[in-house]
Symmetry: C2
Subunit: 411 residues, 2 copies
């Protein structure tokens, strides 16, 4: 007997009929003797509709009221899931965030969970009652409803799994796992059966938007094994039909590169002739952070002439204009030349095995050179190598790298 948290995303509970299908999956876990808690999203489309209601009155709305409005979608599906489980002869009840309670800070609309009091729910689970938790929502010490921000449903599920010391958190979504790269671009892309938290974090933040980054961070911190599964795939009787995100295992080290990620919506900004003095980076990135601009890659090379240097960084394309405004306003950058380019793609190769294997970067550079693709910027971390290239070579580059690392072959 294990204790499992099962999470259903919006497409998995898009209408009452889909909720019934999702309930069938829960019934199977219960039949295996497991204690099961369910974390549930709103029906797909509902949260957007509720956000739109708020914005149609004013985009400058009170986030406490926004949270009250948008959290209602999960209330509906949690109740319906409990009804669907009861119909199947399973004892079940719904839990709103405030009923558990799941306490959060007061940063409404993107609150962070501070603690989960599981006493009542533990009792319920031990009496073989399935606990159906409305995801995405929590409550402040002042008894106001909060929401955890977009994708907060995954975070709720993992946080609940951590609090309940669950053996596993299964996340049902509309894809059947994590792939070595986007199968729409590389048909040979292969589903990864196991991936480490660190690799998942690098892949998720780069656009493999299967799991919300915060939920992976939380799973990492509390060591919760997370399994990504498709709601719609036929049952295939395998132990690991999806992708298991788990702590690093010895076997993973044999795999040098786990996956290839890319982003299409970044822009490159280069400042030429920046004074090479202490504190100049802070003068640049301080104001950008204050303007809530999400800076990604930052590359600064050594100063050739000893007095000035060049700095390159990337920002989301839709924040490029704002970025230019911020830089131009900064006195320290008077006279500095500003070049921007939104025709770039960031390619990243991610793998835990990189730490102990030489030549991973060289394979990447050679494969891109062979395909005639120029590398504009390089940046590396312990388990990731990222490059910027011209956007028009994106598909070609992804295919070349997938092939160069032999990712189509099972590990």
């Amino acid at each position: 007997m294990a204790r499992i948290v099962v999470k259903f995303g919006g497409t998995s509970v898009a209408d009452p009929a889909k909720i019934e299908k999702a309930a069938d999956k829960v019934v199977r876990e219960v039949a295996l003797g497991h204690e099961v808690a369910v974390a549930i999203s709103a029906m797909s489309g509902v949260t957007n509709q509720l956000v739109e209601y708020c914005n149609s009155i004013t985009t400058d709305h009170d986030v406490r009221e926004y949270d009250t409005v948008v959290s209602s979608g999960e209330q509906v599906t949690a109740g319906l899931m409990a009804i669907a489980l009861q119909k199947r002869g399973i004892s079940a009840r719904s839990w709103m965030g405030w009923q558990v309670p799941i306490l959060s800070d007061e940063v409404h609309s993107k609150a962070r969970i501070q603690g989960i009091n599981t006493d009542a729910m533990e009792k319920s689970l031990k009496s073989k009652q399935v606990a159906v938790l409305a995801g995405f929502q929590a409550v402040t010490a002042e008894n106001r409803i909060t929401t955890l921000g977009r994708g907060g449903g995954d975070t709720t599920a993992v946080a609940l799994a951590a609090a309940l010391k669950a053996d596993r958190c299964d996340i049902y979504t509309d894809v059947d796992g994590i792939y070595t790269t986007d199968p729409r671009i590389v048909p040979e892309a292969r589903k990864i059966s196991r991936i480490s938290y660190e690799e998942m974090l690098e892949l998720a933040s780069l656009g493999a938007k299967v799991l919300q980054v915060r939920s992976v961070e939380m799973a990492y911190k509390y060591n919760v094994p997370v399994q990504v599964l498709s709601s719609f795939a036929p049952e295939i009787g395998s132990d690991l039909p999806g992708t298991l995100v788990t702590k690093e295992e010895a076997s993973m080290e044999h795999v040098v590169v786990t996956g290839i990620a890319f982003t299409k919506d970044e822009a490159k900004v280069t400042l030429i002739g920046v004074p090479d003095t202490p504190g100049v980076a802070a003068k640049l990135f301080g104001p950008l952070a204050e303007a809530n601009i999400n800076v990604d890659m930052i590359v600064q090379n050594i100063s050739a002439d000893g007095s000035t240097t060049d700095m390159t960084f990337t920002v989301p394309v839709n924040e490029l204009k704002k970025t230019e405004d911020v830089v131009k306003k900064e006195a320290a950058f008077k006279g500095v030349e500003l070049r921007t380019d939104s025709e770039v793609t960031k390619l990243s190769v991610v793998g835990i095995g990189m730490r102990t294997h030489a030549g991973v970067a060289q394979t990447m550079f050679a494969a891109l050179a062979k395909a005639g693709i120029n590398i504009q910027v390089i940046s590396t971390s312990e388990i990731k190598i990222s490059v910027l290239i011209d956007k028009k070579y994106m598909e070609l580059a992804v295919r070349a790298l997938h092939d160069a690392y032999g990712l189509e072959k099972a590990a």
Copy 2:
């Protein structure tokens, strides 16, 4: 300065634009210096949709989960109303039933309010913050959400007005007040500016479905003046643009008849040759009550031959079949002849002045006779006279009575 509770029904808050119009009405009350609490319904159609979701999984659903699901509609409109008020420069916040808290019994889906702890809301009102309460919902001692049954929104508003000792409860709906009869049948029907709780109870239970009966009972019990107003009528600058439901006032006694109500969906059941023995009525109405059949008029005449009597009563047309089954199963009514007629209309004349004026019934009987309409059954209470007639004469009869009592003239 007064303290006012304002209630908006579903058609008044059917979309964000209508919520903004409703907010304008609240702004006017605030501008007059009043302390205002708002009780709000779900957008029209939403509650039905949520009920349908539950029923589509199983009609035999757990009512605790049903309540969780259907109460979400008011959560949405309460948050949106707070946002709309804030946009207009008015301090406001939403309150869910569990946040106030509004405590109810555990009879889910048709719970009754047991108490309202107004401490927190009082503080909020005194700081000139508008309190926007999600109507229709409460919370049990076990911290589960309850709903108050259909029309519970009016009940929430009146209960809140009573708890806050409000000076008035304004109920905005899609009609602009209570009329002397249905204006679709009698074009001369006149809006009543003041009506007593007792008269309103008699009219409401007869089909003038403007205010939920329970809310009028509660207003009566706690002496809360309730004003019925249209959300859509242009502002007419009158003190009492709608109908004020209030305690009996001396001036009301001059008006003998206040209004004429009728129902189209009743059926008449007559038992002929019932043994005239003690307890026979209990043998009939006990089983009907157990079968949840809502018996309305009951008429029993004296026994002509001393051994048997005839009994007539009415039931909703859609419960006629069930009623026949119940009666036929009862051993005490073996051999009794059962006659039913669903082609009947119940007409009622209601007025507090009846108590002190003679000849009210005679006016009714004479008017119907003059129109050639036969009276099948008569039943009276202190402030109401009801008759059953052939359904096909309904419109003729209503017009004749409206004319006979001179209801088209202002009191």
